[in-house]
């Protein structure tokens, strides 16, 4: 290489070094990327993915007649084909009538009780999760697209605050692991960015579908903190923030996770 060329290359390198922003705001990366190959293969194949049985149970609930004879399918089609999958990817969304955000599970539940006259289900109970898995699975491949401004902004801020608030005897917060140390090892486990695009997800650890709010509580238990109520205003706000961190990631429900 001629000296002049070398000099130019060096200058270009220096320019790149100083112009490239720091990596602090890393690109969102799905939990899938942190899985071992076997677990990724399990998720990729619908016949191997244990979460797919929740899609089937959810579909059965979706088509089951409620107390007034109507079912979810009455309005949304037998396979939910009348649902707008782009809209599913926006949850939690702001409800004008309630003046606050609602999660996808809450929206389904509102239909379940108010439009079908069914008995209420507990948040993150297996029936509620099966329905959420079925509906979110319809939007598999859609990009997460949660609003962070407008009427959702104060709730997004509230969720962000919770995300960064230390709790429990071990005095930890979500960001410490999932922002600062994603990719590093806790014993044999790799810390992920804590993205929600695969949720509700089948966890290998407990062998069942896990709702996002219950998963939050799994972390709180690890830091020996009091749990929050699934479906509570705090967890809905946290879901707004956590889902928005994954804006642009494809929905994978039902994801397979550790």
């Amino acid at each position: 290489m001629k000296p002049d060329t070398t000099k130019t290359v060096m200058l270009l390198l220096l320019a790149v070094l100083f112009v490239t922003p720091p990596v602090a705001g890393a690109e969102p990366k799905s939990g899938y990327e942190y899985l071992q190959l076997e677990s990724r293969e399990m998720q990729d194949d619908d016949f191997m993915n244990p979460g797919m049985s929740a899609v089937e149970s959810g579909a059965a609930l979706f088509r089951s007649a409620g107390k007034n004879g109507k079912s979810c399918a009455s309005c949304h089609g037998d396979d939910g084909e009348k649902l707008d999958t782009g809209n599913i990817a926006k949850y939690p969304v702001f409800s004008d009538s309630l003046g606050k955000p609602v999660t996808l599970q809450q929206q389904i539940h509102t239909c379940w009780t108010e439009n079908l006259n069914n008995e209420p289900m507990k948040y993150d109970s297996s029936g509620a999760l099966d329905l959420e898995v079925f509906v979110r699975n319809l939007a598999r491949g859609e990009k997460v697209n949660v609003q962070t401004d407008g009427p959702l902004q104060p709730f997004w801020e509230q969720g962000k605050e919770i995300y960064h608030t230390r709790a429990g005897q071990l005095d930890m917060s979500c960001n410490l692991c999932h922002v600062n140390y994603a990719g590093m090892k806790i014993r044999a486990n790799t810390l992920s960015q804590g993205q929600s695009n695969g949720f509700p997800a089948y966890r290998l650890k407990n062998g069942k579908i896990n709702g996002l709010h219950s998963r939050f509580n799994g972390c709180y238990a690890q830091f020996r903190a009091e749990k929050l109520e699934p479906g509570s205003a705090d967890f809905v706000a946290l879901e707004v923030y956590v889902n928005s961190r994954g804006n642009g990631l494809e929905i994978e429900t039902p994801g397979v996770r550790f």
Binding site: Q169, D171, A225
Partner: protein, 150 residues
């Protein structure tokens, strides 16, 4: 347990005395120059016990984040620094503060304070309220163990 005049029983309103670990009272400590020179409650540590505490998951669980010269345990974490030879880098007082409350040195650390004042924590689950992750004796044991890592 040896009781010293410096031993302070913290009162947390109606909760009464704050118990640290298995019914023992919380001993206050003083950090100077990024070290706690005085052993907690005046106790002395046992390095063999400290080594066990370092890998027990429900105790120190140091291996969750650190690599240590404990070859019989698989899968050491890599979030925190490798602790091989840590006894050559820090003295007992410096190690003690790092175990007791690393946030005094680095406020944004992920490392739990293993003997942080329980009154300064929030939303602790019932089972662990008023308790520190390690007792004063256990802190001294782990300090004694880490000092042996030369």
């Amino acid at each position: 347990m040896k009781r010293l005049p410096c031993l302070v029983v913290a009162l947390a309103g109606a909760l009464g005395a704050v118990a640290a670990g298995a019914g023992e009272a919380y001993c206050t400590w003083q950090a100077d120059n990024y070290a706690i020179d005085a052993p907690l409650c005046g106790l002395s540590g046992n390095p063999e016990r400290g080594r066990v505490l370092a890998y027990e998951r429900k105790k120190g669980n140091c291996l969750a984040c650190h690599t240590l010269p404990i070859p019989e345990e698989q899968f050491h974490g890599n979030i925190g620094p490798d602790l091989a030879g840590v006894g050559t880098r820090y003295n007992a007082g410096q190690l003690r503060l790092r175990l007791v409350d690393m946030k005094v040195i680095n406020p944004v650390t992920l490392m739990p304070g293993f003997y942080k004042n329980p009154d300064q924590l929030s939303r602790v689950s019932k089972e662990f309220q008023g308790k520190t992750p390690l007792t004063a004796q256990e802190i001294e044991d782990v300090v004694a163990y880490l000092e042996t890592l030369q």
